[in-house]
Amino acid sequence: MDVIRNIEAPYLKQGIPDFMPGDTVKISVRVVEGDKVRQQAFHGVVLARDGTGISETFTVRKISDGIAIERIFPLHSPNVQAIEVVRRGKVRRAKLSFMRSRKGKSARIKEKKQQKPSSRAAKGSTKA
């Protein structure tokens, strides 16, 4: 397994912000159109994080013109250029599949209040 970790190591991103399901994030996605490269923003709520290591992915859901769009991003893909946490959400599960059946008011997620630095910071450092 160490051999494989060594191979994956150069492909792993450093400095990924600590974000969790329930958080609202803004993703900068690299889009290649012909020979033009541009950045596209994808703004939505993180529903889940799946997998570990190089194969880790996360799901982002947003409502665009009344139509829900979910995208699954590979966390370490070079096409995911930046992840910005806009808002911390207060949720009690790891996978927010229930958000798919929610609309309007019930689809809101409470904002997480600033915590004592101890618990969150300690958790964050081990995950990131």
């Binding site: 397994m1 051999v3 494989i4 060594n6 191979i7 994956e8 492909y11 690299r30 290649v32 190089i54 194969s55 590979p74 370490h76 893909s77 070079p78 096409n79």
Partner: protein, 210 residues
Amino acid sequence: MSGLIGRKVGMSQIFEDNGIAVPVTVLEVGPCPVVEVKSTHQHGYSAVQLAYDPIPGKRLSKARLEHLKTKNVEPHRTLREFRTDEAFEPGTVLDVSMFQIGDRVDVIGKTKGRGFQGVVKRHGYHGGKETHGCKTHAVPGSIGMSATPARVLRGKKLPGHMGNHRKTIKNLKVVKVDSDRNLLIVRGAVPGSRNSLVLVRKTRKVQKKG
């Protein structure tokens, strides 16, 4: 062109610059010393015998040990032959640097054993309905005709042992070569479980021109 003996380390994925995730298998191949060169006039066929995986001599049978000793090769666990017309000098050591990024290789291995399996898993039969009063779900059904020919045709796909047989995966692309750690990284899957023995050779599949 000879090949190399190695073992499967495991699978992973790698990102290309354009963001595409490539599924890869990591193989640890070589270094393989040439033990013996077989020639048409002496042995009836031309090949090269390679050794892999050094182990203490006491782990080998006396016959194997003596065979290696006469060729001045250290004790190794595995011996395999590769058919080739090329001339090799006994004692030279072949390693992964014989492959380059972009090469196409064939990987030979033993598939994972799956035991005695029915026709649905073994041959991809569709099986019967699960519901609507069906009482059979995974049976082969009719296996032939009646009085003519009054026997089952040879080669009929039936239940039996599945897996644990030699399989060649052709035309895998070499994604990376690490000569320092004897690693060969190919695109796609390779037969066998982790640590199982694999043989790697330059592909015999004919490449399309252009």
